[in-house]
């Protein structure tokens, strides 16, 4: 069945997925050392919603629970959800744009750039905070953006960029920066643990500040990308075909590269390198709803969020009180799930 025929059903499935996401968020906020019930957690969250909040009866909820739900768990849950959305949307975009099923959000070397930036900040001993964000985060962001600029300029021929050149220069610059990180670790052995923990990816340092910054970047960015869904469909047929269908391929490519890079750079610099989400969420969705980006992008966004929230909940609760880096969890649980999906859909997969 084509996208047009499924459109109606998709709408309901998307609403259903959003309801599932809401449930997952609330359930996740109840899980932890402090045992808070589903209803109490819901009451605490709603009590902070303007207007409606005053109607909520907050009798019998411990004051400390407010703090735990609102200031410890919720920012972390929301940050994971945002990162899940951002990485999945960009992964899905890059797979079509580069016509490469192995493309992930980090294919342009953004993760290595962010790691290099963060490593430099760690090695230099910068631990301060500027504008509510740690200096490590800012350095990671700058590293990510600089890397994309370098990769883009290497791949550029005049005003045109070919996707193959982008991938190749992304991989090359990424590998170069990875070895820079290795060297920095080698010469600064005291910082190795900190650097490794950063690159493994974690949302444990979530704050409302990070949520506040990431929310507009991810939501507006994803909306812009979704507005180009039809162009992406045409571009997955090849640049030449897309041009003949009336799409200003070079311009669209630039817009999508800028928006995607901003999303990924923001995600990586706030949480480190969380792998696999941007690769397997869009792929799994592709196996179910097909390759049309008008379906693929919204479903990848919502399920990316659900996947990340679940993974982070596991990361912080599997072996209390210690934390497993969420990047390890995403691969640990994502890979087998994806293999099962692949196996079931052997014939269907691209």
């Amino acid at each position: 069945m084509g996208f047009i025929k499924k459109k109606r059903i998709y709408k309901y499935f998307l609403i259903l997925a959003l309801i599932i996401l809401a449930f997952v968020v609330i359930i996740s906020s109840t899980i932890g050392v402090a045992d808070i019930s589903f209803i109490d957690s819901l009451r605490i969250m709603v009590s902070r919603v303007p207007l409606v909040g005053t109607l909520i009866d907050s009798d019998g909820i411990r004051q400390s629970y407010y703090f735990i739900v609102l200031n410890v768990r919720l920012p972390r849950i929301l940050l994971s959800a945002l990162i899940g959305v951002g990485l999945s949307v960009v992964g899905s975009t890059f797979q079509s744009m580069f016509r490469n099923p192995m493309a992930d959000p980090y294919i342009l070397g953004i993760s290595s750039g962010a790691s290099a930036g963060a490593t430099i900040a760690i090695v230099l001993g910068f631990g301060g905070i500027i504008g509510g964000l740690s200096i490590i985060t800012l350095y990671a962001f700058i590293g990510a953006i600089l890397t994309v600029l370098i990769v883009y300029n290497i791949a550029r021929v005049g005003s045109r960029v070919t996707t193959l050149n982008l991938i190749l220069s992304g991989v090359a610059v990424g590998l170069f920066l990875s070895s820079v990180v290795s060297l920095l670790m080698f010469f600064n052995r005291d910082d190795i643990e900190k650097i490794v923990m950063w690159t493994m990816g974690s949302v444990s340092s979530a704050t409302w500040n990070k949520v506040r910054i990431l929310t507009p970047v991810v939501t507006i960015g994803s909306m812009i990308i979704t507005a180009y869904a039809r162009d992406l469909n045409a571009m997955s047929m090849g640049d030449e075909t897309a041009k003949s269908l009336g799409i200003e391929v070079e311009r669209v490519k630039k817009i999508l590269l800028v928006v995607s890079s901003l999303i990924v750079a923001s995600c990586v610099s706030t949480s480190g390198v969380i792998g696999f989400v941007g690769l397997i969420v869009p792929h799994t969705i592709r196996l179910i709803v097909g390759s049309d980006q008008r379906g693929l992008l919204p479903f990848s966004a919502v399920w990316g969020a659900i996947f990340m929230v679940v993974c982070d909940t596991l990361a912080r609760n599997l072996i209390p009180p210690s934390e497993i880096p969420v990047g390890a969890i995403t691969s640990l649980f994502g890979a087998p799930f994806f293999i099962i999906m692949l196996y079931k859909n052997k014939k269907k997969v691209i």
Binding site: I4, N233, S244, G246, D292
Partner: protein, 266 residues
């Protein structure tokens, strides 16, 4: 000056360089409405480059390619896509779209960014699929149909673009003889029914001779000769361009020239 309606496509002193290599030299063509033009010539003669210049998938120099008497470098891609459609040489599609979705992509130039396909778009797509005999494939994934079927689907997409010019790059070279004839006849019928103008790069000289109203013979980036099949497909031209000795007779059924015997020129 001719009225713009009767000459949808004009090429004036078109040259094209790739790096230092001059691929096209001083090409001049005037294409008549409602006719089938074949571009033939040996490998590397610049056929595909010429087609890509016309389609604006390469950037032609200003004032060298005119569609409806408008310089293509001044036309937006969207506007261009409403006048001219392209069936590329390689139609491999790796991502799973249904045939209907692929054909509907031909409507892209008519649909705004925040709009969906209208029922009219769906009707146009259905008509395009019916006239290319692909309607029965409409719900199949493009990755699961044969090469001949896929080629017809891409022609259907070009038709859904509702243009009056269609460019094709070796549309039948990867098909077996049955599908070759079927596709050529489909295109011929479209020219008759819709009065569209077709320019196609062709590999098979006999097929080109059989179906074309006019043939453009290229060699080393230049147009060597252009005219009706009888004017272009001659023993002298074949020898000059392909370096082959041949014997050409009239096909007793179609009355078109037919190359019978070929041997390398000594």
């Amino acid at each position: 000056m001719e009225s713009r309606g009767s000459y949808p496509l004009k090429i004036q002193n078109l040259g094209w360089k790739y790096g230092d290599r001059q691929i096209l030299k001083d090409i001049n063509l005037t294409i008549k409405k409602g006719c089938f033009y074949s571009i033939i010539g040996p490998n590397g003669s610049g056929k595909t480059t010429l087609l890509r210049n016309i389609a604006k998938s390469l950037e032609p120099t200003p004032k060298s390619v005119f569609v409806d008497s408008i310089d293509v470098t001044k036309l937006s891609r969207r506007n261009m896509a409403k006048r001219l459609s392209v069936v590329p040489q390689n139609t491999n599609i790796e991502f799973e779209f249904t045939v209907t979705d692929i054909v509907l992509m031909g409507r892209s130039p008519y649909i705004g960014r925040f709009q969906g396909e209208s029922s009219q778009d769906l009707e146009i797509a259905e008509r395009a699929m019916r006239s290319t005999n692909t309607w029965h494939l409409r719900d199949k994934p493009i990755t699961q149909i044969s090469g001949g079927e896929r080629q017809r689907v891409i022609v259907a997409r070009a038709l859904a673009q509702d243009t009056h010019i269609m460019l094709l790059d070796e549309p039948v070279s990867q098909l077996d003889i049955h599908h070759q004839i079927e596709l050529m006849e489909t295109i011929q019928a479209l020219i008759k029914d819709r009065n569209i103008t077709v320019v196609s790069v062709m590999h098979d000289l006999n097929l080109a001779a059989q179906y074309s109203d006019y043939i453009i013979l290229m060699n080393e980036g230049k147009v060597v000769c252009q005219g009706t099949p009888h004017e272009v497909i001659t023993e002298e031209n074949i020898k000059r361009v392909y370096k082959l000795d041949s014997y050409i007779m009239n096909n007793p059924v179609t009355g078109k020239p037919y190359i019978m015997h070929v041997r390398k020129s000594s």
